[in-house]
């Protein structure tokens, strides 16, 4: 047995000293795809204005869980949910919840950048239009504002009416984040937002997230443990549908309670 060189990872951004209030609280959540019990008895609090990372090997249910928070899993006919996810005193999983409104308050960004095959500005204005905003000036202002926030304004301000698909992958992903910001949501969910990107674009997005967490609650799924270590305040480790361990990122990485957590973190599987 030979020891590998120590991995030096910065935790400098994980500045949470005391827990902020819980904004979303999952209690005994079970999710099934037909007979497949994909998420099992998960209890997970998500704290306001902080970054919570979900990690775990492929197929462990990370995406399934995060997609339930804004009811995107409604789109999969076979998917079925049990339990409670409370947000603003409402159980999100209640069938009576107005999912359209819910998704306006809880935005989402996906692994593959998915801009609409329309112009850059339309991509950002579309959610506003959906919400009924017609005023040209407002639309323009919000466009600039959102692009500024994701640091894309200077790169694209001269070609706002060019097709969004002409942007590079990293730019597209930032555009998708900008689009999610247009409706001023409370929470932003991101499912492996950087795994299809190059290192430079990845780094830019990490930076952006650290900045956004001042205003938004962020939940991010990542397969890159170092990424979680770098940016997340809280980390949840999923394995085979179960939430194995949850806690402050530093604690979880340096002093995991469970054997499987430390096995996973040290790369023994996954």
């Amino acid at each position: 047995m030979i020891q590998m060189e120590k991995n030096i990872v910065s935790f400098s951004n994980n500045t949470v000293t005391k827990d902020l209030p819980v904004q979303i609280n999952a209690e005994d959540v079970n999710i099934y795809y037909g007979d497949n019990h994909a998420v099992k008895h998960v209890n997970l609090p998500i704290h306001e204005k902080s970054i919570t990372a979900l990690i775990g090997p492929s197929g462990c249910g990370k995406s399934t869980f995060i997609r339930t928070i804004n009811r995107m899993n409604d789109l999969i006919p076979a998917a079925r949910c049990e339990g409670t996810i409370s947000y603003k005193d409402v159980n999100i999983l209640n069938p009576k919840v107005d999912v359209v409104q819910l998704r306006k308050e809880i935005g989402m960004v996906f692994q593959q950048p998915n801009p609409f095959p329309k112009s850059i500005s339309e991509n950002i204005q579309l959610p506003l239009r959906f919400a009924g905003v017609r005023n040209k000036k407002t639309l323009k202002e919000v466009t600039e504002d959102c692009l500024q926030q994701v640091g894309l304004w200077d790169e694209v301000k001269d070609r706002l009416d060019r097709s969004a698909t002409s942007l590079s992958g990293g730019q597209q992903q930032r555009l998708c984040i900008a689009r999610a910001l247009a409706l001023k949501p409370d929470v932003i969910l991101l499912d492996e937002p950087t795994s299809a990107l190059d290192p430079v674009s990845s780094a830019k997005i990490e930076e952006l997230l650290l900045q956004l967490k001042n205003d938004y609650t962020i939940v991010i799924v990542t397969h890159n443990m170092q990424q979680a270590a770098r940016i997340a305040d809280y980390t949840a480790f999923f394995y085979q549908g179960e939430l194995i361990e949850f806690g402050k990122t530093r604690t979880l990485f340096t002093n995991p309670e469970k054997k499987s957590t430390s096995d996973y973190i040290s790369g023994r599987f996954g």
Partner: protein, 294 residues
């Protein structure tokens, strides 16, 4: 909320469209069957048509329809499947491929009457096949071919790339990979497509008017020598099919029971198409189960 109302109205309209579609089918089928089924009898199916007296049947026309269909399939399936394999597996992007693809599209969208006219010009007159089963089958080949090509190409394209790579990585040649791995895997969808296309061939009429003729000799079902002029198997006799019969009877028939014959024939035709459909579905299901389960 405004967008919600719009949403509800628009979705209702869409559902209405689907309902209209289903309604049209129900009306069509209901009408054809209600009108026609009463005239279907064992006698109707097993007697020859009569030139001008009442009480004629459709025995020969029914046989002709199936016979023309079988000959057409014998011609189109090998060529069409090969062509589909060519496009899916061998064709390299370029001028030639795009030209062949255009050819397939042209064949697919030719009006059937144009195909019929071409058949009359070339098969009936130029090659001297006369109005015959064979001329008819050749004409139908012209427009069934692109269907089979497309079905095959789609079947191959929908296979996952992994299967093919698996074969090639084992040192199988491309052709052998196609023969032993890809074709069997694509077989169910190709077969389903072929049976569905059979329904269309079965019901085709305009192209056959000018190629297979408007009459049929009095077939002797005891004589299976293909060279005999009144043998059911003779390829070079004229052969009015069921759908042509409907048109012909309706157009110029002078028997008193024209309506009964037309409605009965239409019902038989539609029932055959329905059976093709059910058969294709059932077969596809069985094969799929066999391939995946076991």
């Amino acid at each position: 909320m405004n967008s919600k109302v719009t949403n509800r109205i628009a979705l209702s309209l869409i559902i209405l469209c689907a309902a209209v579609m289903a309604g049209i089918l129900a009306t069509l089928l209901g009408y054809i069957l209600v009108k026609g089924v009463s005239s279907i009898s064992w006698h109707f199916l097993t007697t020859s048509s009569s030139p001008f007296l009442a009480g004629g049947g459709i025995k020969d026309q029914l046989w002709n329809s199936f016979y023309v269909l079988i000959i057409t399939m014998l011609l189109t399936v090998p060529i069409g499947v090969s062509g589909g394999i060519y496009l899916a597996e061998y064709a390299k992007p370029g001028r030639l491929t795009s030209f062949i693809r255009t050819c397939v599209e042209v064949l697919a969208s030719l009006p059937s009457i144009v195909v019929g006219m071409f058949g009359m010009l070339v098969f009936v007159n130029y090659f001297g096949f006369k109005f015959s089963v064979f001329s008819g089958a050749l004409a139908l080949t012209v427009f069934n071919l692109p269907v089979i090509v497309r079905v095959t190409e789609d079947g191959f394209n929908s296979l996952s790339r992994h299967q093919k790579e698996g074969g090639l990585a084992l040192g199988l040649t491309h052709w052998h990979t196609i023969k032993t791995i890809l074709l069997p895997a694509a077989f169910p969808s190709i077969l389903t497509g072929i049976i569905l296309s059979a329904g269309r061939v079965f019901g085709e009429s305009a192209a056959l008017l000018f190629t297979a003729g408007l009459s049929t000799p009095d077939l002797d079902f005891g004589n299976w020598n293909p060279a005999a002029p009144n043998s059911p198997l003779n390829l070079f006799r004229s052969a009015e099919t069921l759908s042509v019969h409907i048109w012909a009877v309706n157009t110029g028939g002078i028997m008193p029971d024209v309506q009964t014959i037309a409605n009965g024939s239409a019902a038989v035709l539609v029932i055959c198409v329905l059976l093709f459909n059910l058969f294709a579905r059932a077969l596809g299901k069985v094969i799929n189960q066999k391939l995946s389960g076991r």
